[in-house]
C-alpha cells in the first residue's frame, strides 16, 4: 500500500512538472505568473533527483557505503575532515554558486524566457548535475585527486596537461569577463562605487580581527562585517546626494578598470588572511541571504513575467549579444545548466570531507539542482521587468543610439514600447544617474530583484536601497571570484614557471609572488580592458568566449568521466555521460566556428576585424580614431586565436580519449583503473 502511495505521489509530481512546463512553453499573449516557473522547476528537480540520480547512483556508479571514504581513511582534522552531509552540501553549494547563474540567464533573456528556462531545467538534470555527481564520485575513489590529475592518470599525460591549460585559460577569460560585469555595474554610479569601495576597509578590519583578536571566529566577525556592509549601502545614498562626494565616486569605465586591476594584484600578493578570506566570508553570508530573500520574494510576490516566450531576436540579431539560440543560448547560460568550473570544486575539497559514498548523490547532484534554481530565479527577475526596459539597460549605445529619445524609438520599433521618460523615472527611483546602456546583466538583474524586493518590503520608497543592495551583492560576489581566482591563477603560473626555473615556484619568495601576480593580473586585465574599449560594449565578444571556455572544460570533465566509467566496465550505461559530452562538443565547436568565421561582423571575430582593416586601408577611419581602430582589430584577432586554441585543445583531448576507448572496447588493452584500493568502513551505519 505504501509503495502504491509513493508511486502515486511521484506520478503526481511528474504530472505537475509536465503541466507547468507545458504552460510555460505553450502560453501566448497575456503575461504569465512566475508561479508556473517555480512549479516547473521544483517538481522537475524533485523527479530528476528521485529517479535519475538514484538510477545513476545504483546502476552507473554503484555507490558503496561499506567502502571507507578518504575522510575516514586519512582523517587528519585539516584536509580530510568527515563532515555532516548537510554542512558539506552548504560548503559545496557556496563554492559552486557564483555570479554565472545570475548573469547568464539575465543575458539569455533576450531570446525570451522559454529557451533559457528549458535549458536551465533540462540541462541541469541531464548534464550539469551528472557532471558534478560523477566527477565527485571519481575523485572520492581517488583520495580527492583533482580533475587534471585524473585526466593525466586515466586518459593520458597529454590529457592532464590539456586539462591544466584549459583551467588556466578559463580562469583568465572568466576573470576578465566578470570584472567587466562589475565595471558596467559601477560606471557612473557613485552610490554603488562607494558601497563597494567600503567593503575593502571592512574586509581588512575583519581580517585583522580574525587573525589577531579572535582567531578563526568567523561567525561573529562575519555578522559584524555584514552589518557594516549594510550600513555602507545606506550611507551610499548620502554620498550620491552630496555634490562633492558624488563627483569623487563617479568613475569612468577606464578608471574603474585600473582600480579593479590594482585591487586584483593586491588581493593576490597580500597575505590571504588580510583581504581575500574575510571578503569571502562576507560574500558567503550575503550570498546566502540574498538568494534566500530572492526565492522568498518570488514566492510571495509571484510577479508576472512580461517578456514574451520568444522574442524577435531568436533570429540572431539580438542587441545584448549576437547569435542564434543554437548554439548561443547554451553558451550564454553556462553555470545554471552545466559549468566546467564545478568539476574543479567536485574534485577539490568536497571529496576529502564526504563521510559516505552515498552522500555524493545529495551533494553532487543536489547542489547543482539548487544552483539551477538560482538561475531560474534570475531568469524570472530579468523577465519580470518591462521588455523595453530590459533592452534599454542591456543594449550598447552603438546598437540603440546614444541619445535617450533615439534609443527609446529604436527599442519601440522592435516592438517593445518604451519612452525616454520611463527610463529617466526608473533611474531616478533607483538612485542612478542613468540606466541606459548598462550592458553586462548586473544592473538589469538588480532592477528586477529590487522590484521584487520592494513589492515585499518598503514599496517604491525603498526601491533605491534594494537596487543598491542587489548591486552590492552581485559586485561583492564577483570580486570574491576575482580575488580568489587571481590567487589560484598566480599559483598555477608559479607551478608552471617553477618547472623552468625552480626558485620561481617557491610560494613564499616575494619576487616570484609579485611577478606571477603581475602576470595573471595582466592577462585578465587585458581582456577586461579590451571589453571596456570595445565599440560593441565588450559583453558581445567576451561573454561567448567565457561560455565557450567554460563549456569546453565541462566537456573535458565528461571525457575524463566517460573514460573512467568505460574502464569500470559500465558500457551499458555509458550514455549517461556520453550524451551530454557529445552535446557540449557540438555546441562549443559550432559556437567556436561561428565566433571565428561567421560572416556577420557582430558574431565573427575575423569578419569584424577584416571589415575594420578594410575601412582603415580605404582611409575611411578619421585620424583621431586610427589607433583605437587598430587596437580593436588586434583584439578581435586575438579573440579568434584564443577561441581556436580552446577548440583545438578539446579536439586533441577527444582524440586521446578515443584511442583509449577503442583499446578498451576492442579488448586490446587491459584497462588500468587508478582507484585507491577498497577498505571496509569501520563506521557504523548512520554515522
Amino acid at each position: 500500500m505504501k509503495r502504491v502511495l509513493q508511486i502515486l505521489v511521484w506520478l503526481g509530481l511528474a504530472s505537475i512538472a509536465a503541466a507547468a512546463l507545458a504552460m510555460i512553453a505553450l502560453h501566448r499573449g497575456e503575461p504569465i505568473s512566475a508561479t508556473w516557473f517555480v512549479l516547473a522547476a521544483v517538481c522537475s528537480y524533485l523527479v530528476a533527483y528521485r529517479l535519475y540520480s538514484a538510477f545513476i547512483a545504483a546502476k552507473l556508479l554503484a555507490l558503496d557505503n561499506t567502502r571507507a571514504t578518504p575522510s575516514e581513511r586519512r582523517e587528519d582534522g585539516r584536509d580530510f575532515v568527515p563532515t555532516n552531509k548537510w554542512v558539506l552540501f552548504g560548503h559545496h553549494f557556496a563554492a559552486i554558486a557564483g555570479p554565472g547563474p545570475l548573469v547568464g540567464p539575465t543575458l539569455a533573456a533576450q531570446f525570451g524566457y522559454l529557451p533559457g528556462t528549458l535549458w536551465l531545467i533540462v540541462g541541469a538534470a541531464f548534464a550539469g548535475c551528472v557532471q558534478d555527481f560523477v566527477i565527485l564520485f571519481c575523485s572520492i575513489r581517488r583520495d580527492g585527486k583533482t580533475l587534471g590529475e585524473m585526466a593525466r592518470e586515466e586518459v593520458s599525460k597529454r590529457g592532464g596537461i590539456i586539462a591544466q591549460l584549459a583551467v588556466l585559460a578559463i580562469m583568465i577569460i572568466l576573470l576578465g569577463v566578470v570584472a567587466l560585469v562589475i565595471v558596467n555595474a559601477l560606471k557612473s554610479s557613485p552610490w554603488a562605487t562607494f558601497t563597494l569601495a567600503c567593503t575593502i576597509p571592512i574586509a581588512l578590519l575583519l581580517g585583522v580581527y580574525l587573525r589577531y583578536v579572535r582567531p578563526g571566529r568567523v561567525l561573529e566577525a562575519s555578522l559584524m562585517g555584514v552589518a557594516l556592509v549594510l550600513f555602507a549601502v545606506v550611507a551610499g545614498q548620502w554620498v550620491a546626494d552630496s555634490a562633492g562626494w558624488s563627483r569623487t565616486f563617479t568613475l569612468s569605465g577606464l578608471t574603474l578598470t585600473f582600480a579593479i586591476i590594482v585591487y586584483g594584484f593586491a588581493a593576490s600578493a597580500l597575505p590571504v588572511w588580510l583581504l581575500l578570506a574575510p571578503r569571502d566570508y562576507l560574500s558567503a553570508f550575503i550570498k546566502a541571504g540574498a538568494i534566500f530573500t530572492l526565492a522568498a520574494g518570488i514566492l510571495l510576490v509571484r510577479p508576472h513575467v512580461l517578456m514574451p516566450p520568444l522574442t524577435r531576436f531568436v533570429d540572431g540579431n539580438g542587441p545584448v549579444f549576437a547569435g542564434k539560440i543554437f548554439p548561443f543560448c547554451f553558451i550564454t547560460i553556462a553555470c545554471g545548466a552545466i559549468s566546467g568550473f564545478h568539476s574543479l570544486i567536485s574534485s577539490g575539497t568536497t571529496p576529502k570531507m564526504i563521510q559516505r559514498e552515498a552522500h555524493a548523490r545529495f551533494i553532487g547532484y543536489g547542489a547543482m539542482l539548487l544552483e539551477s534554481f538560482v538561475g531560474v530565479m534570475a531568469m524570472v527577475a530579468a523577465c519580470a521587468m518591462t521588455p523595453g526596459v530590459y533592452f534599454a539597460i542591456n543594449s550598447p549605445a552603438q546598437i540603440v543610439g546614444a541619445a535617450p529619445e533615439a534609443a527609446a524609438q529604436t527599442i519601440s520599433n522592435w516592438g517593445y514600447p518604451l519612452s525616454a521618460a520611463t527610463m529617466a523615472g526608473l533611474a531616478h527611483s533607483v538612485g542612478e544617474q542613468t540606466l541606459w546602456n548598462r550592458a553586462g546583466g548586473a544592473p538589469s538583474l538588480a532592477v528586477g530583484m529590487a522590484q521584487i524586493f520592494s513589492t515585499t518590503i518598503g514599496g517604491d520608497r525603498l526601491l533605491s536601497i534594494w537596487y543598491h543592495f542587489a548591486i552590492m551583492f552581485e559586485a561583492l560576489f564577483i570580486l570574491t571570484v576575482l580575488d580568489a581566482g587571481t590567487r589560484v591563477g598566480r599559483f598555477m603560473i608559479q607551478e608552471l614557471g617553477g618547472r623552468v626555473w625552480k626558485p620561481f615556484g617557491r610560494l613564499n619568495w616575494y619576487p616570484a609572488i609579485l611577478l606571477s601576480s603581475a602576470l595573471i593580473v595582466a592577462a585578465w586585465g587585458y581582456f577586461l580592458y579590451q571589453g571596456v574599449v570595445d565599440p560593441l560594449g565588450g559583453i558581445n565578444s567576451l561573454w561567448p568566449l567565457f561560455g565557450i571556455s567554460n563549456q569546453l572544460l565541462a566537456a573535458v570533465a565528461l571525457v575524463v568521466a566517460t573514460t573512467i566509467l568505460l574502464k569500470m566496465g559500465r558500457l551499458k550505461w555509458i550514455w549517461v555521460t556520453l550524451f551530454p559530452m557529445v552535446w557540449l562538443v557540438i555546441i562549443t565547436m559550432t559556437a567556436s566556428y561561428q565566433k571565428i568565421f561567421s560572416h556577420n561582423p557582430r558574431i565573427g571575430f575575423l569578419t569584424f576585424a577584416n571589415g575594420l582593416a578594410a575601412q582603415l586601408a580605404a582611409g575611411q577611419i578619421p585620424a583621431a580614431k586610427i589607433v583605437e581602430t587598430q587596437r580593436v582589430i588586434f583584439n578581435q584577432r586575438l579573440d579568434a586565436v584564443v577561441t581556436a586554441v580552446l577548440a583545438i585543445m578539446i579536439l586533441v583531448l577527444l582524440a586521446e580519449a578515443a584511442v583509449q576507448w577503442h583499446a578498451i572496447l576492442s579488448r586490446g588493452q587491459q584497462p588500468v583503473l587508478h582507484e585507491t584500493p577498497y577498505v571496509a568502513t569501520e563506521w557504523a551505519e548512520g554515522d
Binding site: G77, V81, I96, V178, G216, L219, L344, T480, V488, L507
Partner: protein
C-alpha cells in the same frame, strides 16, 4: 510550552552546530579533537591553524563562476 521547547531545543542546537561547522568556527575544535584521538604531540595554536587553513583553501579553485 515546556514540551514545545524540549522538542525545539535539540533542533536549534543541531542548527547552531551545523552553522558553526559551515562557516568554519568549529574547524579548530575538530582539529584538536582529531589530534587528541591520534595522540599527536605538537598541536597548532588557533591562529596558526587558521592561517594554515586559509593558505590551503585559497591555493586551489574554491569559488566558482
Amino acid at each position: 510550552m515546556h514540551r514545545l521547547w524540549s522538542n525545539t531545543r535539540p533542533r536549534l542546537v543541531r542548527f547552531w552546530e551545523g552553522l558553526r561547522e559551515w562557516c568554519g568556527d568549529a574547524a579548530y575544535e575538530n582539529y584538536r579533537k582529531c589530534a587528541e584521538r591520534k595522540g599527536q604531540q605538537s598541536v597548532l595554536s588557533p591562529a596558526e591553524f587558521y592561517v594554515e587553513q586559509l593558505n590551503k583553501k585559497y591555493s586551489r579553485p574554491n569559488r566558482c563562476c
